[in-house]
């Protein structure tokens, strides 16, 4: 099963589609998930997911904005999509009775 950060990364990459690359994914994670994402955490997770066959990466074009350096483009593979769907469904199942999932006020403990 995927880890939480792996799922967040794959979902961001899938959402960005053809324009998914390191900096864009990082920005998406920080914007949507509201958490800081270091370049180290991002690329080690991309590497791990690529080894598991859940992501495919390749070097994209170099732009002047990047100081002439190439982007590392990312695409979620069918295996990755399947794993992400499984993770999502498991989270939905496990959350079904939780107050925050139903939109009910939390009970005080």
């Amino acid at each position: 099963m995927l880890g939480e950060f792996e799922y967040v990364l794959m979902t961001s990459a899938a959402g960005l589609g053809e324009s998914a690359y390191g900096a864009a994914i990082r920005e998406e994670i920080e914007k949507v998930a509201g958490r800081r994402c270091s370049i180290g955490a991002l690329y080690t997770t991309i590497e791990r997911l690529e080894k598991k066959g859940m992501l495919k990466t390749w070097m994209g074009e170099a732009t002047a904005q990047r100081g002439g350096r190439a982007k590392r483009m990312v695409r979620v593979t069918p295996k990755g999509m399947h794993a992400a769907k499984e993770f999502y469904e498991a989270m939905m199942r496990v959350s079904r009775n939780a107050s925050w999932a139903k939109g009910k006020p939390e009970r005080a403990s």
């Binding site: 690359y21 390191g22 900096a23 990082r26 270091s38 370049i39 180290g40 955490a41 690329y43 080690t44 590497e47 791990r48 990466t57 070097m59 170099a62 732009t63 904005q65 990047r66 100081g67 350096r69 190439a70 982007k71 590392r72």
Partner: protein
């Protein structure tokens, strides 16, 4: 500072260098921030690497194998001298030389195939006993470099291990049986040298496991 960040990328794989330097540049981050990003990635990659068991086995074999093979190389040099003086037979020295070559090669092969990106650590751990032994060598009748005889077959084995990762089951089994038989014939002069056989038998187990899993895949594909 950005040049420092660029220098720090030597620890990264070529495909990571452009990505990790280009991302901060795109966001207009400072040189310090780029340096921090590169070093952060280097540290995380190393931590990720050492979470697996393979590099641990590789560095242990590199260090222990190096220590034992230094002794074997020295013993072989001494016996070769005795052979020239007529104090030893050809058969026993040839047996010893063949064992030294096969031990060094199989140890190198296992280190090369299991080290992955920890190759530099395995190299350092192999080099430390070598330097220490060469510097403290006191026998004036022999060249101090004689203790390093195992290095050439060891390095050849390591390079082949990096390229091929495993032997075929038949090759590995033949090699392991030949080495064990040779040790039995030779008498296994030092009991600790039996440790040097472990990589050869590990190669057999690894080759058998790989062939079994390949067979299973082929069987499932055929279904």
């Amino acid at each position: 500072m950005s040049s420092l960040a660029e220098m720090a990328t030597i620890f990264l794989a070529p495909k990571d260098r452009d990505a990790v330097l280009g991302d901060p540049a795109e966001k207009g981050a400072s040189g310090w921030s780029a340096l921090g990003s590169v070093l952060g990635l280097v540290v995380r990659q190393q931590m990720e690497l050492w979470r697996a068991w393979q590099p641990w086995v590789a560095v242990s074999v590199a260090f222990a194998g190096s220590v034992l093979l230094l002794g074997v190389s020295f013993g072989l040099s001494m016996d070769s001298r005795h052979l020239l003086r007529g104090e030893r037979g050809y058969g026993s020295v040839l047996c010893e030389a063949l064992l030294m070559l096969s031990w060094a090669w199989t140890n190198g092969f296992v280190v090369g195939s299991l080290s992955g990106n920890a190759r530099w650590v395995s190299g350092i751990l192999c080099a430390i006993p070598c330097f220490s032994c060469v510097l403290r060598f006191q026998d004036t009748s022999l060249s101090r470099l004689c203790v390093l005889m195992f290095l050439l077959p060891g390095v050849i084995g390591a390079v082949q291990g990096v390229r091929r990762a495993r032997l075929s089951y038949r090759t590995a089994l033949t090699l392991a049986i030949a080495m064990t038989a040779l040790m039995l014939v030779w008498g296994g002069r030092y009991i600790q040298n039996w440790f040097l056989l472990m990589p050869a038998w590990w190669l057999v187990a690894h080759a058998e496991r790989s062939e079994l899993s390949n067979g299973r895949w082929r069987h499932e594909d055929a279904k």
